[in-house]
Amino acid sequence: MSLRFQRLFLILVTFVLLLAAVLLILFNSQKNIIFFYTPSELINEKPKVGQNIRIGGFVKEDSLKKITINSYEFEITDNNNAIFVYYNGILPDLFREGQGAVVDGIIEKPYTIKATNIYAKHDENYMPASIKEDLEKNNQWKKNYK
């Protein structure tokens, strides 16, 4: 077999393999590289009690309660389902109601998580504080700026 034939054959095989690989990744990657689950995904997965889990979503409005000086209760929601979380420790600066957050924790009972770590997630919107006040004065402040 000549060199040219070996090369051509190999190039063909390479392309087929690469194509297959790209297709496989495209069809499968979304599910797997997960930093956190959303509450709905968590409910679908039906995890066992006592399992370590990380969920992300928004802190539900009017759900944050301060119990003692350093312990909190709140709900994480994705507008469909909500998970109840309680936490002992210091909350990050950005953590507030309506704001995105990621919770590291253990499932205590279904729909309830005991958090060990809380990260605040901020979105890609940047806006001067003064403009927000103006907007709120004129009732233009919409909820799509979370």
Binding site: S29, F35, P92, Y119, K121, N125, Y126, I131
Partner: protein, 231 residues
């Protein structure tokens, strides 16, 4: 016209002319950027911590830009035997590494007050950390081979393979759930960053790019001289 992109002599000639004006231009833009940052408003959520963005975003952009340039030059250098591409690779890699490090460190400083952690292993942070290691390996290869002809080609091959990482970095925030927020600027449809904050960001990005360019020009000139000597 574009000969300076592949020809060392033309590159030297052109850069001899533009280096000084470029230097003054950079200084002016950098100063303007600093002033704009000083007068830029606080974010409605993050307060004045948002000012870390004016370092973090430009350095991240430059880390990616440097690697993309290296990838393009490596492909051209390997395919069309343009030796200038190899010169660029070994000259520019440390610059990229430094910008990646600045990006990682400033991001970490930003993450602690905002997210509540210095570091998490989400897709964006991990892939940028891998980019940093890739830069380091390129530098190691640069210093551990004796024959220039061998090492430059091996660097180019390595750069091309490592470029798989680039789209992963760029799109990691869109493809997967990450703690890191998605991109703000490249969304053309809905501007998600206010003009009063966009202006200093653009000024700083320009300034960082020019600083990188100046260092790159100086390093490339040195590399050209070194190679002429070693022959």
């Amino acid at each position: 016209m574009l000969g300076f992109l592949i020809n060392p002599n033309k590159f030297n000639k052109l850069t001899d002319i533009i280096l000084k004006p470029l230097f003054y231009l950079t200084a002016v833009i950098f100063l303007i950027g600093l002033i704009l940052i000083y007068y830029s408003p606080n974010d409605y959520q993050q307060g004045s911590t948002v000012r870390i963005m004016y370092i973090h975003v430009p350095s991240a952009w430059l880390a990616l830009l440097t690697y993309s340039i290296m990838t393009i030059y490596s492909i051209f250098a390997l395919a069309f035997r343009i030796p200038f591409g190899f010169i660029i690779n070994s000259a520019v890699a440390p610059i990229g590494a430094v910008f990646t490090l600045v990006c990682l460190v400033s991001g970490s400083l930003w993450g602690k007050p905002m997210w509540g952690t210095w570091w998490v292993w989400d897709a964006r942070l991990t892939s940028v950390a891998i980019l940093f290691i890739v830069y380091l390996i390129i530098i190691f290869i640069n210093y551990s081979f004796e024959k220039i002809e061998v090492k430059e080609k091996i660097i180019a091959i390595f750069v091309v393979i490592g470029s798989i990482n680039l789209p992963i970095i760029k799109f990691s925030v869109d493809w997967w759930n990450t703690l890191h927020q998605p991109a703000s600027i490249s969304k053309l449809s809905s501007p998600s960053i206010d003009p009063s904050m966009l202006k200093p960001l653009i000024a700083m990005t320009l300034a960082f790019t020019f600083i990188g360019l100046i260092i790159a020009i100086l390093r490339i000139k040195t590399e050209i001289i070194l190679r002429k000597k070693s022959i």
